[in-house]
Every structure is written in C-alpha cells, then in structure tokens.
Symmetry: D2
Subunit: 439 residues, 4 copies
C-alpha cells in the first residue's frame, strides 16, 4: 500500500520570495486562493478502504494540492525556463506550451523561456537543434494548430549531457511534456541535478492519448481523441449499414488501456462490439467473438466492431508464435481480425462486406477541443506554480477535482486501466449488449 | 452540516426480483459490478474538514452509489415507464431519452415506455397532448438531433392531476429530465404518490445548462454548451481585432452561476474580461470596469469581454430602480454594458467599434458533443438502475468519479456556484489577467 | 465533334397533362420559370471554338435545359416512382432521395414512391430484398445521416429481369443514383423498356465522388469529399512538421481523375506535392519525384505529398509486371510510394519520419455539407421535372449555371479529367511550387 | 446592352518582361497554360440572346480571361506591392492576402509586399497606421484565422492623398479587397494615378458576403457564410419543434440580395418561409404572410421563417414613415416581424413560442471553409497575374468556369440579385412550399 512518505514531493529548499500573485488574493476577504501547506487531498475516498485497513485518519495517504504558493522558490523576473515536448503527438501540446509561457510571463514576470526542439534530442548539442525563444507573441495563437511547434521525437538521451546543456543555458526550471518514458527521463534529469547539488526544478506534465497514466484524472487530449475517434465509428457504421451483411471494423489507439475504445463507442451509441486489452476474448467456438458477430449481423443486418490496438494480443501469440525479443511488439489486431472475419464468412459461404478503418494520425494531430483546451491551460498554470515554488521530480495531476502534485516514482509505478469489473466497462457492456464473456 | 440522514434515499420497499443483469456479472471472477448495499461514497474528501469537525469516520456524510442492484424492486418485463422533459433546451436531452429507452429495453426487458409531450403539461389531460410510444426504433438516431423529441414547456402543473394521470396509464417509474423547478415538481409528485400509498418511483435527471445544480459533478450538456459558447468568443475576438479600438462583447448564459462564461473564456484563451454573477464589479472609477477596459484596449488595440447574463445585476438596480414584484427578473446586462461602454468612449471623444453577440439559442439547440453523449448515456443507465431498484424522490448525480443517488431535498437546497476564492476563478483571473477586484 | 443530334434527349411522347407547378408561375409577371421548348444552352462557350470550326450559330451543339415544363407526360397524383442507389457511398445520397420524394410528393402529388434496396440487386426478386415505401415522414431527416438508407451494392444485373420487376410493380419512373457503370445500366433498362414499347422513364442522377463524369459541372458530394480530405492533409502536415525530416503521405480517391487531390491540396494550402493520374511522373533521376522530395524536405524540414489512387500506375507496371487479365486493377500507389521514399532515405543514410494516411471511408460516409446539400436538392428537383415530363435515357447535369438534360450515351462517352494544361492544374502547380515536370 | 468596348480592360502599356512562370509551361507539350491575347470568354451564353439581337458573332460581348501572360508589365523581383482590406468582415480575407503574398513571392520573386492597416484609412498618413511587411512566414497560417490580419474600416478617403502615399512608398500594384464602395474607391485611385501619368496598377478583388456583385460567379466567403447560416436555421428549427406552436425566426444578411437566405434555407431543408428583398410580401390579409404562417403552424405544429435583412422594407415605410435623409437606412425587419407575429397570435388568443436569432457576426468572422479557401487562393493567383501584366482599374471575376478580368465600371453598374423568375427562387419555393405570392 502507498504510504504518506511515498507521496511526499521533493522540495529544493526554503521558499523565500514573495509571490507576484498576491494581487489576486490580498484584496479578497479570505486567503483561500493560497494553498495552505498543511492541506492535503485524500489519496482514495471510499470509506471501506479506510475501514478495511484500519489506518488512522491522520495517516491516510494524501497528495499535495497544486496551486500558487504565497512564497515561491525562484525569484520572479529572474528565472529562466525551458520546455520540451516528447513522444507521439497528442491534442493539446501547443495549449500547454502556450499556457506555460503565458502564466510565467504574465504572473511571474518570467520572459526568458526557451523551447527545446524535437524532444530530448533538442537537449543534446550533438544533434544541432538550437532552442527557440518562446515569447507571448510567438505562442499567442498556437493553440489553433495541432501537433507541437517545438517538434518531438521518441527515445531517451544521456541525462548527464542534458544536465550539462541545461546548466550551460542557465535553465532553472525544465517542463517536460511527455509520456511514461519521457517522465522517467525527467526523473533521471532531476536525479542527476540533485546529485550535482543544482537548484534545477524538473516538472512533468503527463501526456498520454490512451489515458493510461494514473493519478491525473483524465489525461489532456483524451476527450478530443475519443471525440474524433467516434467519428470513425460513425463512418464505419454508415458503411456497414449501407451494405449487405456489412461489418465496420475500427482499430483505435490503446496499447495497454481501452479507454479511447470505450468512450468513443459510448459516444457514438451504435457500436456492437468493443474489444480492449483488459478483457481477453476467444475468436472461435459457440461463445467466441466470431459466432457472436455472426449472430449480431444476422439479427441487425450489419455490425460495428471497435478494437483497441492492444486487444487480443494473446490470440496472435498463440497462432503466429511469440515474439523473440524481450521488448514485446504489438501484433496488428485490426488486420488479424479482418482476416479472421473474412475467413469465417468465406467458410460459411455467406456474403460479407467488411470495411476496415484505422484513424490513428487523424486523431493525434487535431487541435484540442474546448474541454481539453481548458484543461491544458489549467494544467500549465498548476505546473508553473509548482516549478516556481521549487518543486521537482514530480508531475501535475488532478484528483477529486483538485490539481495535485505527484512524485514521478508514484506516477510510473503502474498504469491506469479499464477495470473489467468497474462501471465504465459495465456501461460499455450495457450499451453494446455484447456478450460479457467471449471465451 | 449535512448529516447521513439527510442523504438517505427513499426506498419503496423490499427488492425481491432477480436482476436480469446477472449475465454480465456471474461469469466474472469478482462480484464488484454489483453495488454492495453497505458501500458509501464520501460526501466530502479533504482531511481537514473531517479533522476540524471531529466527526467519527463511520458517521461521515456519504452518498449511495448508483449502479445495478442484484435485486430490483419492479418486475423486469412487466414494468411501465414514463419520461418527461421540462424547461429550456439543453444539449443531450435526446441522448438521455435514448439511453433510458435502450437500457430499459435491452437489459430490463421493459418495452412499455411512453414519452409525455411538452413538459409537465403532457401529464395534464386538459392540454390534450397524447403520450407517444418510445420504441428502440423510434429513438435509435435521435441523439443526432438537438432539442427534445418530446417537446418541452416551462411551468408547474397540479401534482394531484399528474399522479391521477400516471395511475390511469399504469406508470410504475417516471423519469423527469429537468432543472431546479422541475426537480422540485418531481419531488411533489413523489410525495403525492407516497401519500396515496402508490408504488410509484420518481427519478430525476438534473438538467441545467448553467451547471448550477450541486452534487452532480458537471451537468450534462455543459461541455457542449461552453464549447459552442467559445466559438462566439472567437467570433467576437476576430471582429474586435479587425477593427480600430475594437471591443467584442459576448453575453452568455448563467443566471446565478458563471460556469459557462469561465470555461468558455478559458477554452478560447483570448478573453480579456470575464464578468460573472458571483463576483460583483463597479463600472466607474479608476479601478472600475470601464477604466480597466479602456487601459486594455489602449494596450492591445482591442479587447474581448465575456459577461454571464446574471452578472452585474446590482448595477442596474442602482440606476433603474429595483424590481417591483417579488419574482426578480434579470436586467439585460449585455445591452447595459454595451450602452455604458459606448457612452464612456463617446465621453472620451475616442473612436470605438463595439460588436455585441448573444448566442443563446444556437448553444441550447445543438446536439450533444462526444463527452456529453457518453455522460448522458451513463446517467440514463444509472437512472434506469435506480428506478428499477425502487428508489424514488431522488436524482442521479456524479461525485468522486462515481454515479450516486441524491435525495431531491438535498439537490434543491442550494445552487452550485463559481467560488470567488476557488481555483476555477483563479484560473480565469490568471488567463485574462483582468484586475481581480474592479470596485 | 459532338453534334446537335447526339445531344437530343429521348422523349416518350406528347406532354398532355397540366403541370401542378402552375401555381408558382401563373401569378408572376413573366413566364420565365417555365422552360421554353426552343431554349437551348450552348454546349461550349469560347468564341474561338466557334470561329475555328465555322459552324453556323444555329447549329452549335446545345443542351436541353432542365426545369419544370408546363405540360408533363405522366399524370400527377397517379404516377408510381422507384428509386435505387448503386455503387460506392458518396456524401449526399440521402439528400437526393429526400429531394426526390419531397418534390414528387409536394408538387406532383406523387405519393407512391418506393426505394429498391441494395442497388440493382433490389430489382432482382431472386435476392429477396423487398422495396420499402418512401414517405415524406420516412425521409424527413435522412439528410443528417451519411450513406444511403436504401443500401447499395456494386455490379450489374439482368436488364430484362429488372424491367419485368418494374412492370410487375407498375413503376412509371425509375431514378437511378449511381456512377458510370450504373448509369450505363440505366440506359440498358431504358432500351429494354423501349424495345417492349413501355412508357417507362429512366432518369439518372450521376454520382461520382471523383468528379470524373462529364457534363454535370461538379458532381454532388465532391465538395464535401475534398473538404474532409483536406483535413487528412492537415493531419499529415501536423505530423510531418512535428517530426525530424517528416514526410506526410496522403492517398486520396481518384482512380482516373485527380480532382479531389487537387482541390483538397488547394484548400489545405500546405501540400508540397500533388500526384494525379493525368500527369505521369518518374521516381528516380535528378528531375524525378524522390530527388524533388528530398530537396523540399532539406529546404523546409518536412513535406506533404498528396497522391490520387490512380496516379503513377505505370511505375508499378514497370517494376512489378503488367496485369494479366483484361480488367486492369489499380496498384496501391500509396504503399508503393511509402516503400520508395523509405528506401530512398535509407539508401542515403538519412533520418526520415514518414506518416501514411488513407482516409477513404471516412470521406465517403459523411453527411453532405451545406453546398452539396443545396446542390442535391436542386438536382433532385430537376430530375423529378425531367421524369414527370417523360424524358428518359438521360441524366440531369449542370452547365453554365443551368440545369440541363444530357443523353446517357454522351455522358458515358468519356471521362472528366484534370486538364494538364488547364487552369486548375496550373493553380496546383502555383500553390505547391512543385516541379511541373518530374520525368 | 453591354458592348465590347465597355468590357475592354485598361492596360498601362506594352508587356516587355518575360514571365517567370515559363518554367511551368515550356516543358509541356502545348502552350495552353498561357492565355492567348485573342482569346475571349463569351459574356452571355444563351443562343436566343444572340439570335434576338442579331449581333454578329465577332462582335458579341466577351471578357478577357484571367491567368498568367507570357509577357508581364512589371519587372519580376523589382516590383513593390500593397494590399488593403476594406469594409465588413467576410470569410476568406486572410486566404486572399496569403494567396497574393505566396503567388507574388514564389512565382514573380516579389518579396516587397506591404499590408495597409484598417482599410483605406491605412493609406492616409494622418491616421498614423504604419503599413506592415507581409512576408511568407507572416502569412503562412493566417488562413486558419477569421477576419483580416490587416484590420479593416468602412468609409472613403481622399484619393489624391492615397495616391501621394502610394507614390511615397513606391508601390507599383495595389490590391484592394473590398465591396461595392471600396471597389469604386479603387477606380478613383486608378483614375488619379492615370491623370498623373503614373504606372500604378489597381486591381480589385470583390468582397461581398451577400453575393450581390455581378460578373464574379459566386463571391468568396459566400459558401462559408450560408453554411454557417444554415446552422442558425437548424437551431431555430430545433427550438421551434421543441415548443408548443413554436416559431423560429432567423434574420440573415442580405441588404439587397437574398442569396444567403435562399442557399441557407435550401441547405437546411426545413425552412417553411424565406423572405428576400427581391420578392415583396404583405403581412395581413388572407393571402398575406401572417395567415400563411398561421396555417403552416397549425398544420405542422411549428414553423421556421428565414428573412434577409433587406426584405420587407416597404412594410416598415408604410407603417413607420419613410426615412428622412437621402441615404436609406434599413429598418429592422427581424424585430418588426417578431412583433407582428407575436401581435397576431395575441390577437387570436393562441399560444405561441417565438425564438428570434440573428447570427450576423458569428457568420462574418469564421475562417473560410474548404471550397472558399480554394476559390480565394485561385482568385488571388488570377489577381496577381493581372497586376503583374499591368492591368488596372479592374477586378478579377469568374464566369463560365474561367477567371476573367472585368472593368470596374461594369462591376459597379448594377447588383447581382435573386431573379424572382429564375431557377434559384423556384427551388426555394419548391423546397419550402410557401405560397409563391403573399400579397
């Protein structure tokens, strides 16, 4: 079980500078805008958890709330900041960049913000990518564009080299917008800096289009992603319904977690089957997927199948042999299912019109829709506050409708998944009326 | 302080029928899909609240979770259901209707569902509106349309007459989709039925485009509403920036709560001022709104002002005299501000191009966007479970990422508002950089 | 050269019934709503064509204008109509169906309209698809859905059997909404009916998402198609610009004609290369496509390539051997180019990030956007007038801003293509600044 | 009747410089990309016009085609260009600016392009607006924004002062993007320059969201405008259908021409009445609008009325007295109809729910949709060619699917209107089934 100590966010030292945000708070009757240092957010909220474990109330795991502090660590107006975006595209990256620059500039007087280009590679001089200045003019309208104006790349770089570069440039706070691996990388940078005794704050803003990072409520870009994904399900449905024995098969993102598949299917209202990594299924047999699909097509004239890219990986291992290397590479479940369905109908001698859609890039590259846009700017504000307050080796998250600080160790300790016995999956089962077990 | 007793949902009697949802749950390893009757959701979650009040853990206020029960009250397949939509339009009404019909039909075998037309008036025979049959075919695609296929109307009707009508039609469960007033009306219907000893379940699904009903997390349609509202702010911004000393003034919904104004402004990124009912402001004087607006226009060449319809009501009372009748009618703050700004610039002898937008109906009438679509179907599922389980005089809500049952008395006890010292308003202040106090 | 005789539309016989549209026209000052039988639309309009060929003005090829006739052939109110949709999906099918039903019903009192299901197969009893009644209630909102409510299928059916079926059902007018092949099929049906001396009107409404049918101005659904296609180019661009040496490769529809590729690229503004069937190109060599692409990537850091599915077919024949059978099947130019580009960069030892998008179904299945919606309803109105007036073996088209009647023989005589020396292709060259010749 | 001489575009002098576009054309087999100086586009195309007037074929009115010339007037690479946007916003302004800058830069080597700010006021030094440099970087993504990055203003300025300023800045070509009045202003500038013997080319790109400028086919932004307008009609319809005796009343743009109202109504499919300036109507009496509306509401339960802002002006003159000044100001027909309808139902003692929408700014300010985006870039290309070729005192237009040059005198000689006896209005009457005469 997670303990209070695990959740303690590292702090570089004493906060000695008056926060410029005083102007928003002094005039108000209460001081509640400021976060009281003794305030904590409960880590979990169901009574029975508390009761079952007999933990005293005062020792319950709690998280530090995000938000502006009265005293900040870095001197406003004299702090230098770097921003880097890593990994695959996700709607909202430019909103976060814009939000950081605006918040630092407007409220902390921090005008010296640079963007490192093309992911962590931009922190390694050998690649030759010069950082670019991020002014408020430069970022004013970037939220209308998808992608990231900084460019991105995958893969790790040498932490010592990156810290050398940060020192060379005089960076005080580094904001890392990236996924699982990049957040681990941020933790290594923080560790190297700590080892050298440097006052370098490293703040992560978790990015995962699959929504599989824990402790952050919903990840930014996720709502935009399933909104666009639902359009592909609609397209598949139109194609299926316009054909004789039409089957629309849509492969969506979701390597380890089926959130996009579940939400997009619920939003669309018309999916007949949702297949996700968390819920295994068999193809053959009376209670298998193919027989269930055949029954649905016979009943309704057509069917729509939504499959997350990480679903049914065991099926391909069984038939095609397991992967040789240690690093497991995902089999192409979409094409595998397409072949299986076509083969099934051919064996039956029945007509079939299957249309296969895989809308990956057209989802990742769109600008953030309104909700995500709001969420990104607020995440960026919370991140700016955390960095200015001298926090490090943490990410900003959201829990119980509050922004929180989460140590990176905790964030990368496990993945967020669709609980097969939780209410989201139940909603999907209720909506699709697919067999709960296809084994 | 709210006590445990206040939160207790009324229950018609013992649940004796096996739930047809057993098929989704029996095959799984755990039984967690079913809600344990002893399970509770904490009413509030910050440790200091608990600590300050010294309430024993076991007596903390908790809510009953939503979801399917193993035993249900009404006999599946032999239950008759009515649905009514009341009050102003809100994105998602048809999604909720569709979700109820689908869930009841597919999972409880309830095929006898009728829709009452034109709000509560449809429950009063004198109006002559016959209820319409809601089959799965009829509702299959209604989510693509805005509005409500049942029609709606405002205003209360005689509860005794409505209960007579429900009895006449043999209705077991009445789902009321409506706002504050309509939910109170639902409670009266439940009370009359209770007084007569009838086994009538009345379940509310709170509808408020302003997001001002408490205990339901976000109200359905709210995200769609602020997404569309943000487009009007964008239009105002384009007009303002294309003109000499351009001011874009956008009046949005929000009689008592400024949520739409706050979220739409954050989503748009470019608002310069947000004015909401919860935060009073003065027009004149050095620190008043007009001077602040003038400074911003001078600085940036243009400005965008977002005002909720309930904002600044005190200003109009001061100048135009208070309202005579008891029922306070809102003054038109948009037109009032327009005149004030135009007058201010005329007095200064400066050029001004003011464009005023008030996009009310074009927001209320759109189909729900993806997130709200998901939320509506899940709310409908939870409502169907509650009704079938024999709950009554309650609404379905969402709290701490769980669907919950909330007694109507509690729901109508106060309004949800933007806390002037909360983090949402702080985000708005950070984003607009408007003066925190304009007095 | 096309002669006047070629353009003469067949007419079943004398028009003896007063048109019910008289009410729209009688009250007006002029009679111009009615089409004068002597009126003709010039087949071509540039003076030099006339001058070069010395054709007398009175013998210039002209088309019969569409629109309501004062006298119609079929008796209003006692006519029976059938509608069939054939071939691949295209935005606007349901708009045309709706338009036909509404026009026939409202203005000609024709309430007996049936829809044949699943293309021409629905006209062949052996397939067992019963026609469905198309009432105004049934079609009222179908324009909000993509696809066709009638279903569709590809392939021809026996004309004699189909005419038997039409006679059996008492159909007077058959509207065929379909492509090249289906329109030929419509002509065969008309010929069989003519051979039997039947008063059967067969009116085609040309459907081609590729816009490659001549004499119809722009085909319905085309604007919607390139609007949606432009979004994929935008996605490819975002992905390309966010990566190191990023190349976005988008394969669009266009078997014989590159219109969608050209318009989508112009709409998007950011394509670097457009490859279409009408303009051959070489891959290798200093002036070939790969070298040009490499130069553009070096210059701008990334590039977007738009390729129509019918482009570069000669390249694949050269390398992979020609197709054995008579019926040429298209090679997969998208995947072919992907491999070629990846191979080219690998050979150079340079980094490359290529993202390949092929958005076919998500384009075909969307509801028609506003312009196409208008165009569909007007095409349907013109088709209804033509059918009621007893025209047959023709399609409705649009030329010089007028609706016209075009004999099917003429329509299928050749394809509409992007002229390599025309102003559309020049606009594309100007917009992309790609080398005009890559040989 | 328009004569050939009227259509002659002014030419500053002999074209002596080789066009840089040679690279696109030399390599091709034919020379057809170049416009032959003897080529002409027929001014009108119906045979009967020619026959009725007995005009010899060689003397038919024709227009000069747009497009690149082999020889251009201004020296590529050494030409200085100015751009100004005037009047109300219209979707596509930024697309045209971008298109001009890109074409001039990429194909004519013209890098010295300035944008005058805030309309013609930007050409008058006294206003103090400095022109801004328009580089390809600056304009690369401006098409994603609505409005005009140059700002705009209404009203004329002194032509002599403006020519002084153009001379001072060394401008060779001035592109004016504006409406009726601004195009007249451009002609005055050209006349002043001509009077001084200056080689100043003034090229207009007609802008009119109402589509009321003749000789340009469809005006840019028009399709975007009616697409967005159709959404307001949809909103009005949803509101009307959800209410008891619901009437949705939508006022759209269209001072003199009802094109937006007609197209938006056709696109939406569900309007019951369309009222435009070109077709007068009476309110009262058995055959008047109010009685017709009442019948429709009784029949269908609700109705949607679309009214162009210039419609029914005679009604208000009758009741409220004619306008005193010479410059006629439009009465507010929307509010007038609202009052009339409410009064009519009140007099009848019948329930009515009227919702009034007037979406002006939200239409004008959106970015251009795909079709308009294509059209704008092509118009800009044609304008750039015309300017470089030394044409002046003309606008670029489109006729018979070709870009053409039209002298300004001709363009401002009359307005484009919806012909009451033309096929567009007939389509509207067919679609709405409203009474053709409401007098």
């Amino acid at each position: 079980m997670v303990t209070l100590a695990d959740l303690q966010v590292r702090q570089l030292g004493e906060c000695r500078h008056e926060s410029p945000l005083a102007k928003y708070i002094a005039a108000r009757r209460t001081n509640d805008h400021y976060v009281d240092e003794s305030d904590r957010v409960l880590f979990d909220d169901t009574v029975h958890l508390v009761q079952d474990h007999g933990v005293p109330l005062t020792e319950l795991p709690t998280l530090e709330p995000g938000g502006p502090r009265r005293q900040v660590f870095f001197p406003p107006g004299r702090t230098k900041v770097g921003i880097v975006t890593c990994g695959g595209l996700c709607p909202g990256l430019n909103d976060v960049i814009r939000g950081l620059v605006m918040e630092l500039n407007t409220h902390y007087g921090v005008t010296d913000v640079v963007g490192f280009r093309n992911g962590y590679a931009g922190l390694v001089p050998a690649h030759g990518y010069e950082p670019i200045a991020l002014t408020t003019e430069r970022v004013a309208s970037i939220n209308m564009q998808g992608g990231t104006i900084l460019g991105t790349s995958r893969g790790a770089q040498d932490s010592e080299v990156m810290v050398d570069r940060l020192v060379e440039l005089g960076i005080d706070i580094l904001f890392v917008i990236g996924g699982d691996g990049s957040i681990r990388g941020a933790s290594k940078i923080a560790a190297v800096a700590r080892g050298r005794g440097l006052d370098l704050s490293v703040i992560g803003i978790p990015k995962t289009i699959d929504n599989d990072i824990p402790f952050i409520g919903q990840s930014f870009g996720f709502q935009t992603a399933f909104t666009v994904a639902a359009q592909s399900i609609a397209a598949a449905q139109v194609e299926a319904q316009s054909a004789v024995n039409g089957v629309g098969l849509v492969q969506l993102m979701g390597r380890h977690a089926g959130f996009i598949a579940c939400y997009a299917a619920l939003a669309n209202h018309h999916a007949d089957f949702v297949l996700i990594p968390e819920v295994p299924f068999a193809l053959d047999g009376e209670s298998g997927f193919l027989a269930a699909l055949q029954r649905r097509v016979a009943e309704r004239g057509s069917a729509v199948v939504v499959v997350a890219e990480g679903a049914g990986q065991d099926l391909m291992a069984d038939r095609a042999g397991t992967d040789a290397s240690g690093n497991r590479k995902l089999g192409d479940i979409g094409r595998y299912l397409e072949a299986a369905i076509v083969g099934h109908y051919r064996a039956l001698g029945r007509e079939l019109t299957l249309k296969y859609l895989k809308p990956s890039y057209s989802i990742r590259s769109v600008p953030a829709k309104a909700f995500d846009s709001v969420y990104c700017v607020r995440l960026a504000q919370a991140a700016a506050h955390a960095g200015m307050a001298g926090r490090t080796d943490m990410v900003v998250g959201r829990r119980h409708n509050r922004f929180v600080h989460v140590p990176i160790d905790i964030v990368v300790s496990h993945r967020n998944e669709v609980a097969p016995d939780g209410d989201l999956w139940l909603s999907v089962l209720e909506s699709t009326a697919q067999p709960p077990e296809m084994r």
